[in-house]
Symmetry: C2
Subunit: 269 residues, 2 copies
């Protein structure tokens, strides 16, 4: 673990990351010393920092720190957090605060081949996401909605929970983005009101367009989702999981996601 | 500063308070070794923890820690944070996580007599609060909306910013609750969709009822607010501030808030 470039595993109790969730993060998977989508993660980190007016650490610094960490542990799950750091007391950011950046490192998780090939069982969460256009799309540290949603079920057969907004629009999973195939059109929810736009969501949109599919980023109702010919979830750590069961429906044809997974595996990132 | 009862000023980078804002807090003002509204703060802390299913530390433990801190510094501003602590990676709370509780202590702020007596200038924030009934009223650590709102202005003549929700209902200030006197009825916004319900808000409601005023906790539009005969802000640290100027309107008669401030000062808490 590194805190501001120094080996350590603690931060100040006055860090605004703790006090207000005033920061952003990325979760990264490394295999053989290589992080999937590192450049894309870096770009999103910079974008998210910009929205919050947090001075993102230099890309070269982060890349070098990552390189050193991966020398020690080439297969790992990493978490990179950037907070606004400490400042004077109170909500208003102070102009002289020094950003905190944190690397945490874990063993690489065992990823389920079965989830990719046979699909997963998914539930609809009770919690409805609130809307906040000024924070929509950003992977920030205000994640209580995700916590409450993930706390709704214990059944380990259920791999993910889907979240709707207050108007009943499908937004995302608790830790994934959602795609639906509807009459040969690939639809993924518009995330301009709420939700987190992950790097694999962008990759899928690009892949589909390069493969001559029509892609629509738009509102998607719960009713419409259930009429889909295929639903799948994306997350840059677990990859692509087709949905086998959701509510009263079952799906079995995962040809499209198998093609995507094959493209992902061949390093088509 | 105390972290889990031990002198210290750091927490783990794996604490869910940092990772997800998964915790709650109180800000307390102490004078001569006495914290205003300690019992009320404690009750709200317990209530807020209950909503998030966080095991709040025992009242007797917190009260004893507070006593020891105030022996060293009888006049102080204190911050008490309770987080869900560390757990396994991921949003879902684990059942064996051990709660973290943190006391931070600052010099007691100089409180402006002028703000209490002559009133304050207030602005309307651009940011609209998102609604999330499952978190409404709670003083949790997901405070990015407050941060963004407080970052909207630098003019130190403006003491507070008012926040509306997406439907244009008045909800609160960035760090205060709002009351309006409308035809001799004291109105304060319903906080069942968003906002933080502070201890002084409860005190004002009680005081007004004991003084035979009609009190309504209900939706309050921005248009209606501007027709008020008196607007005031409450915060358990700064107390009660009447509004002198908001948008195109000015107010000068602060008789009611002067009576409330006098009642507050005589320890009528």
């Amino acid at each position: 673990m590194l805190v501001n470039g120094t080996s350590g595993n603690t931060i100040s109790i006055r860090d605004r990351g703790l006090l207000y969730g005033d920061g952003v993060f990325r979760t990264l998977l490394a295999r053989n010393g290589q992080v999937s989508f590192w450049q894309q993660h870096l770009k999103k980190l910079q974008q998210d920092c910009r929205v919050l007016a947090i001075a993102c650490p230099d890309a070269s610094l982060l890349t070098e720190e990552l390189r050193v960490l991966l020398q020690q542990q080439p297969d790992a799950l990493l978490k990179l957090i950037v907070t606004r750091g400490q400042g004077v007391r109170g909500y208003a950011p102070s102009h002289n605060s020094v950003v905190t950046h944190i690397w945490d490192i874990f063993s690489a998780p065992e990823l389920s081949v079965e989830n990719r090939t046979r699909g997963v069982q998914v539930r609809l969460c009770d919690l409805r996401l609130g809307t906040q256009p000024k924070l929509a799309g950003i992977k920030h540290l205000n994640r209580l909605e995700s916590v409450l949603a993930a706390a709704e079920w214990q059944d380990t057969d259920i791999a993910e929970g889907l979240l709707l907004d207050e108007q009943g629009r499908v937004i995302e999973g608790t830790r994934s983005n959602v795609f639906a195939l509807l009459n040969d059109v690939l639809v993924t929810p518009d995330l301009s009101r709420c939700g987190v736009a992950g790097v694999l969501r962008d990759w899928v949109i690009d892949w589909a367009q390069h493969n001559n599919m029509t892609v629509q980023v738009r509102d998607l109702s719960w009713a419409e989702l259930q009429t889909a010919d295929l639903i799948f979830l994306t997350n840059s750590v677990f990859g692509i999981w087709p949905v086998r069961q959701l509510a009263q429906r079952m799906w079995m044809d995962f040809t499209l996601t198998q093609r995507m997974c094959a493209a992902l595996d061949t390093g088509n990132t």
